[in-house]
Symmetry: C2
Subunit: 287 residues, 2 copies
Amino acid sequence: MRNLTEQSISDAVLARFSECPDPRLNQLFSALIRHLHEFAREVRLTPDEWMAGINFLTAAGHITDEKRQEFILLSDTLGLSALIDIIQNGDKPEQTTESSLLGPFFREGAPNLPFDADIAGPVEGERVVLHGRVTSIDGTPVAGAMLDVWQAAPNGLYDLQDKNQPEMNLRARLRTDAQGRYRFRSIKPASYPVPTDGPVGKMLNAVGRHPFRPAHVHFLIAALGHETLTTALYIDGDKYLDSDAVFGSRKSLVVGYSHFDKVANDREPQMDAIKFDFVLNPSPQRG
Amino acid sequence: MRNLTEQSISDAVLARFSECPDPRLNQLFSALIRHLHEFAREVRLTPDEWMAGINFLTAAGHITDEKRQEFILLSDTLGLSALIDIIQNGDKPEQTTESSLLGPFFREGAPNLPFDADIAGPVEGERVVLHGRVTSIDGTPVAGAMLDVWQAAPNGLYDLQDKNQPEMNLRARLRTDAQGRYRFRSIKPASYPVPTDGPVGKMLNAVGRHPFRPAHVHFLIAALGHETLTTALYIDGDKYLDSDAVFGSRKSLVVGYSHFDKVANDREPQMDAIKFDFVLNPSPQRG
């Protein structure tokens, strides 16, 4: 541990993990240390810059609480979350619906609502109905699939950020019917900035990046015999589609508004609709 | 931003920094993102492992306060702090005293104490006197150099961790005399564990590493016309010298106890001594 050079310090640190009882943990820390050290050597990181990094992480930790997760936001804005998603889901069959970020605003325990329920509560805005089917790769409808849906209000805020929305507003758990169909009513989503009052917002500003996400609605779809799908639908024409601050938007998940069948929608005949069919990947067969 | 692959996501993220007004910031973020993404690809980081990382950083942020800096401890235990120190100081002339970590326990505002002061306060332990000279590279004594010294008590705790020590105990600011000499009295330092009750302690335990630092006394030495030196003296024979949990110990900074001159030390004639001469690097000449 003595007479260390810029290069040999890395080997000295790696050697200290030789007693690690868990091979995967050893692999993770070894790779982390190699890349972290290589980063510092490559940019010749100065003590002041290092301290700025320490202060950044400290501020991120202090602003994080039950309702705010600045480290996930950091991971999102650096594209790490999107990369993890692609690593995890990139090898699925092409027919399956592409995944997208879970994001920091998912909440467990959304209310179970019936087919065709309205999830917008007191929030006002342009009305929309979202509907379609959940099928397996071979086109078989998936009955009884559980859809968690959640979205921000037109003011860009999720329920847990917004004092004017009741708890769990614009969130629901819905089930597909016997034909694999889902349908719910809501308001049209709008593009919105990620939280900018913390260190990540300051970072985006310092590097000249905007903080906006294109308008979207989140879906988490779980069904027996299938892999759970985390995804979102993005609204065609949104100006931030190609520069999503968290790198979540995908071409295959972009949807436009269409006119909804009047007969099926006699309560709100002028309502626009989003129609999207989700295709789930069957779970691997067990021996 | 759409139809992204495991590789192209990195380019997409890097492209978003093209408007960064600060070239150095752009360089830092570009390198950070490349290494971060390469790490995730290399180890095939899973969503659960990613979430464990998010939770680790969150816990580190929440335990960090004015008296506790878990992110610095993390940097220290991963060898990043030592690497930053080597990058910063590795090209100094060989005659100069080697630098070592500042560590998380330095505090501004230690009391100014006179030559030969006792910094141990009410703390009991084996007595020691530390003395020597501060010189420039050419051997010229540096008069009026300011030495910040700080150390842990024999229980392994610094003042700010220990309810039984007064504020700023075992800390002092001392000045060298006209001959460049410094001298102060204290208690012998002991090896001690870094804080293990937080996420970094859990990490060390999980990977099979001990949390101990070898016994040491910190020095921060500032003098006109010279670069400030952050270093520490490590006690010969300490069992953790070769496995310092934070990679701070250096062979050139290891010191043994010797018998101190009775005449100069008639107050405590049986006292052991540590003698060390610090050599400062002259500041670069201006214009």
